[in-house]
């Protein structure tokens, strides 16, 4: 088998609040290969978001080893981490997090801002992505003028604009009704079938079913169901 996209060995994360420290991740091991679709479930406060946050290079673990595409993350500089987030990783959040003053199309283009210049090609690609996600007529609307499902589809287009190799989603259907949830899940499945690696955190067993693999995180470690 080829080298994993993600390799976690004994990842620990300790938060220190005042004089008290909380060990949120207590030794997480994980291998994710290109093309995987992993769903992470587990009780609230179990550390799912914290883990996703470390996977997304937005924070470093307190201890343990994290190899992303074979590179040890703890040795990376802030600039290198920012570059990887920009180029290799797409994020989707429960609360969408679109900027309110920009149109759908402009929101999709936001990541290209931190890659360098925004080209005509980027604009075309953003437009095609929105078309594909069924938003052809809504490119110039502001987030406030879109439904929750539509906003999440804009966020998916934004996550895909720089053609990442990994998509991280934290409860992407958490704020959606069941119909919109199903649409989003369908899109994620299609993207995975096209080869995109996806790691998804969810509380919804229906959503988890669409993944190829499901893991449970409880009290800071993966447990067998």
């Amino acid at each position: 088998m080829s080298e994993p996209l993600i390799l976690l060995r004994d990842i620990k994360k300790v938060f220190v609040v005042g004089k008290i420290s909380y060990e949120v991740l207590k030794g997480v091991n994980l291998e994710v290969f290109a093309g995987d679709f992993l769903a992470i479930m587990g009780p609230s406060g179990g550390g799912k978001s914290t883990l996703l946050y470390i996977l997304g290079l937005l924070d470093k673990p307190t201890s343990g080893s994290y190899l992303f595409e074979g590179r040890e993350v703890s040795t990376l500089s802030e600039a290198e981490m920012a570059h990887l987030r920009n180029q290799k990783i797409g994020f989707i959040f429960q609360a969408f997090h679109l900027v309110p003053w920009a149109t759908a199309l402009e929101n999709v283009l936001l990541p290209t801002l931190y890659r360098g210049s925004i080209t005509e090609k980027d604009v075309k690609r953003a437009s095609l992505l929105l078309d594909r996600l069924g938003l052809q007529n809504k490119q110039n609307l502001k987030p406030a003028e879109l439904s929750g499902g539509e906003q999440q589809r804009v966020a998916i287009a934004r996550a895909l604009i720089n053609q990442p190799s990994l998509l991280l989603a934290d409860e992407p259907t958490g704020n959606l009704d069941s119909k919109s949830s199903q649409e989003v899940v369908k899109i994620l499945k299609e993207l995975n079938e096209e080869g995109l690696t996806i790691i998804l955190v969810t509380h919804d067993p229906e959503v988890a079913k669409s993944a190829k693999k499901v893991k449970f995180l409880k009290d800071g470690v993966f447990v067998e169901e």
Binding site: Y53, D59, R85, F91, A95, P100, L113, Y114, N162
Partner: protein, 402 residues
Amino acid sequence: MKLKLKLLFGALLHKKLRLLLSLIGIIIGVSALLIMNSFGESAKVKTLAEIETFGPDLFMVISGSARVMAGRAMQTEQMTTLKVEDAQAIRNLPGVKNISPVYTGQTVVRGEGVNLITTVNGVNEEYVAMRNYPLLEGRNFSREEIQTLSKVVILGYKIKSQVFGEKSAVGEKVLVSKLPFTVIGVLAPIGVDASGQDQDDQVLVPYTTAMSALFNVDYLTGIFIKAESTSTLPYLVKQVEELLIKRHKVDPKRKDFSILKAEDLVQAKEQTTRTFSSLVASVSILCLIVGALGVAGIMTLSVNERTKEIGLRLALGAQRRDIFMQFLIESLFITLAGGLIGILLGLILVFILLPAFNYPLIVPVKPVLVSSFLTIIIGLFAGVYPAYRATKIDPAILLKSG
């Protein structure tokens, strides 16, 4: 490029009312600063011009006691002791280039059906040249006209314009205190001199005519003296003073005359200007500080409101220094926008206020540069703290469901 700017700074225009509010302090501060500086610059030009108009090598003896108040020579007490013979005695002193006895009074000038109350200055044939008065038309008095008490008059520019309009006035008749006078000359526009008198609002007649026909007196109100050079002026002033003390047999501490130079007149005015400027300076600096705090406050508020946007930008690949620069530039942009509006507003007000207060109109290059420079400094100063705060945002904020 446009898209790039929109994605970086779109948030700025999102809340327009707030943007405007945050600009107000800066606008007021910058325009006040600009106006204050422009008045300062203009005052310098004005002072020099007034000394020039008065004549830097000129001084006057005023009958009675005179005081300089708010830049004007005010005769506080009338005396009848200054005589034509005094002027003759002064003329014999070494270092005197020109001299003119002066009798100044108020009178009514009537011509073409127009009545005007104005200042009449009785002078001799040397006066026009001493004061560097340019003639618009006609000629100066002749020595003979002075000696023969002729009823001839030279009109100030405003008097001529108000009576005769655009027409030529030379050769026309006007009534001065109901007596017919022939206009022999008209002065070109001069403006206000260091004594605070509008030199365009006066008529000149022979002093002999003024003393006998118009006012029926045997004394002068003043004597104008021109020194041979500016450098000998202080010495000559002293000589004149000693001579008059001797002739009038007065106690040097209780003289019946005063001597005024251009400098004396201007000094008092400069003092007033200086007090005024420092007051306005402190007020506008205060405005700018308040403006800067306003921008800093608004930007901090904005950072606090936009924690999610900041977290998002970090997640999408921004580095902390990108975030820092973004917010610093936003502050700078707000301040510069305020500064620009303030400068424009200030310029408009300068162009309205300078003429309104009888200050010479100048293009305030230096004040504009100073204001622009201060604006940039303030923008940076106001922006650093909010921008620093923005870099401290934890992207974990994104993972909250709200």
